[in-house]
């Protein structure tokens, strides 16, 4: 049984998908010969050749725009944006075409494609290398948005994303690319998109997060000790959101705290808060709390840990919500 890091699990998912489906091809900057700046595609060009693993010129719009064309023709392209901060160069393609083709053509031309991008802070990098802007994609009708937080979920979700008949934005938490190894039996799982996971059952409060904030969230839940019973939910898919699981959990606990590193305004916390207000109002014993990045530009790394939700901030929100 192999022990894989999250980034190795991404690599494994790509490899398995390419093995089982010759229409799966990869394109992106530095993904071939050098194996990607995070080594997510390491060894794949050697295995599958330069026709299926394309080192492209430096042009995100071209990468996504051409991936659209390939998908229109019948391939299943998996495009890599080197960092989510450079996906804006392709944003017009994503908003104007990736998200719309199926609907525009009344289903004649679906776009089974995946756009992978590492996102998030805490890695002491330059500007544009640390943001979390998942809300842009979640806000865009027609896209699915997936953010794994563990190696086996990364593997199972990416395989599902590549098999999905619709375009998926697959955001990879680079901060935890290598922070934990997990044993993955056999070829690993193939998940279903749209399913959240209860990673720790509890009775008194539902603590919700995803991606790179999961370790912080779990630490905070652990710090609350045995006196409190906290249920922790990893969203895994931000769109379509697993509303049923969230509502069921909060109907049981009556309290919810949402954690994300993206800015607060119109983030996932806002959406979940509205959802719970609509569907679980009478169960709520306290306002839904949000522990988020601030509504400022992600500071350069000297101050990034003041921006990112910390265990202490999450613990504070848990205490406030429990004692409301």
């Amino acid at each position: 049984m192999d022990k894989l890091t999250l980034v190795q699990a991404v690599n494994r998912a790509l490899q398995l998908s390419m093995q089982e489906d010759p229409d799966v091809i990869l394109l992106g900057q530095d993904i071939g010969k050098s194996g990607g700046v995070f080594r997510a595609t390491e060894g794949l060009m050697e295995k599958f050749g330069v026709d299926r693993v394309m080192d492209t010129p430096l042009a995100e719009s071209a990468i996504v725009g051409c991936a659209v064309g390939m998908a229109l023709y019948g391939l299943k392209p998996v495009a890599e944006m080197q960092f989510s901060g450079f996906a804006y160069q392709a944003f017009h393609q994503i908003e104007q075409h990736v998200s719309r083709y199926r609907n525009r053509t009344r289903g004649e031309y679906p776009l089974p494609m995946v756009i992978r991008m590492p996102y998030g802070g805490g890695v002491r990098a330059f500007e544009h290398h640390s943001e979390s802007r998942e809300a842009y994609y979640v806000h865009t009708p027609g896209l699915k948005v997936v953010v794994p937080s563990t190696p086996s979920d990364a593997l199972g979700l990416l395989r599902a994303a590549i098999r999905d008949p619709d375009p998926v934005i697959f955001m990879e938490p680079k901060k935890i690319y290598r922070s934990l190894k997990e044993e993955i039996p056999g070829d690993g799982p193939i998940h279903r998109l749209g399913e959240a996971k209860v990673v720790r059952p509890g009775e008194q409060l539902t603590l919700i997060s995803y991606g790179a904030m999961m370790p912080v969230t779990l630490d905070a839940a652990a710090q609350m000790g045995a006196d409190y019973s906290i249920e922790v939910i990893d969203l895994r898919t931000l769109k379509p959101l697993d509303e049923a699981s969230l509502v069921a959990s909060v109907q049981k606990t009556g309290r919810a705290v949402v954690v994300h590193e993206a800015p607060r305004t119109l983030g996932m916390g806002a959406e979940i808060s509205a959802l719970l207000m609509e569907k679980a109002l009478l169960s709520l014993k306290a306002p839904v709390a949000r522990v988020t990045g601030y509504d400022v530009q992600m500071p350069y790394y000297q101050l990034e840990n003041h921006y990112l939700p910390s265990v202490a901030r999450v613990v504070q929100a848990l205490r406030d919500t429990l004692s409301y």
Partner: protein, 367 residues
């Protein structure tokens, strides 16, 4: 009617110094001694800046760093050919250019130490801070040029970018606008042959990057980018043309990234060692030193002495930068967001200030 040739084009390469540092007498620009010496010193400064920054990165005192070693001639000679009233719009590999424009070394260190204080470049320097998304800055330079033209100010606006950046749409849109509006721009490509792991040959099928200008209706020149005199002459001519209303030019400066793309990169994975070895003898500093030695403008021990002096200055600058880092306060992430802080942000700022917690390197806070 037969086919007729409507237009045909030539692309040329300019080189003045030979590998031994001998100048072509026909092309040698006449530069004052003080300027030649300043260029040499600024090149040494850039090389030392790399040495110190890479060392600090290894010691954990600096984040990711993008070195310029091997590219000193392009940056320094280009800076020297521009007037203080001209503008410069860099990418992220122009430490030397900015230092030569009067940006403090401590400021440059701060950028790589992860503080926005590294972008606090006094307006009077007419030098914009680093721009990380490839080619996006090229449009800003065109806009500045268009504005200067509207105001009838005789300034040139030089913008810098890499070979990889020429594949981005922004680059092409910028060149088109510059040509359409005849903006006073100098587009300076530091063609260091690589964009991370992508060689220049995989970036475009054009034989040169210089010829990209032709399709937009202006001229491009390829320049030996490891040749101080060639870069100086080319930028000088292009900037004069720009200031005098002659419109934009593209200069493709052929150079080589002798080191890593950034300190997170390992060129051993993709770059043949033989290629690197072939470029080492073309080192721009060695070449210019030979030229100055032959002219009697430099003594054989000057380089070592200057390097040591520069090293001391940079050491002090690094200490100053680290001191500034220690005194950063977290609420400053709110200070510059808007002219006035909106009400909805005030509680967020209060929260940051109220967090009386120690925050360690891996992002975990301890109450």
């Amino acid at each position: 009617m037969p086919r007729r040739i409507l237009e045909s084009f030539e692309v040329s390469n300019l080189s003045i110094l030979d590998p031994e540092g001998r100048a072509d007498p026909q092309l040698e620009p006449s530069l004052p001694t003080a300027k030649l010496k300043q260029i040499f010193e600024d090149m040494l400064l850039l090389r030392e800046f790399d040495v110190r920054a890479i060392a600090m990165q290894r010691q954990g005192r600096m984040g990711t760093y993008a070195p310029s070693t091997g590219q000193e001639a392009v940056q320094i000679a280009a800076g020297a050919a521009l007037n203080p009233t001209d503008w410069v719009v860099p990418s992220f590999r122009e430490q030397g250019l900015l230092l030569s424009r009067g940006v403090k070394a401590s400021t440059m260190f701060l950028f790589f130490m992860g503080s926005e204080e590294g972008n606090r470049l006094p307006r009077k320097l007419r030098s914009l801070p680093y721009c990380v998304p490839c080619a996006t800055q090229v449009l800003h330079a065109v806009g500045i040029g268009m504005a200067a033209k509207l105001k009838k100010d005789p300034v040139a606006v030089a913008t810098f970018f890499g070979d990889g950046a020429t594949s981005e749409g922004d680059f092409h849109e910028a060149l088109n606008f510059a040509a359409v509006y005849q903006s006073p721009n100098v587009f300076l490509c530091q063609n260091n042959q690589w964009a991370i792991s992508t060689p220049r040959s995989a970036q475009t099928r054009s034989a040169t990057l210089a010829q990209k200008a032709i399709a937009y209706g202006f001229s491009g020149l390829q320049v030996d980018g490891n040749d101080v005199l060639a870069v100086y002459s080319a930028v000088d001519a292009a900037a004069k043309r720009a200031r005098e209303g002659g419109g934009p030019s593209l200069l493709e400066c052929m150079t080589y990234r002798l080191g890593v793309h950034t300190t997170s990169d390992d060129p051993g994975r993709y770059r043949p060692a033989t290629e690197l070895e072939a470029w080492i003898p073309k080192d721009p500093i060695d070449r210019f030193e030979k030229y100055l030695l032959a002219k009697g403008l430099l003594q054989s021990d000057d380089r070592a002495r200057l390097t040591a002096e520069i090293g001391d200055r940079l050491k002090a600058a690094a200490t100053e930068a680290e001191e500034i880092c220690r005194n950063l306060t977290p609420d400053e992430m709110f200070t510059y967001m808007y002219a006035d802080i909106p009400d909805f942000l005030r509680p967020q700022r209060e929260e940051v200030l109220a967090q009386s917690i120690a925050i360690d390197g891996d992002g975990r806070a301890h109450g």
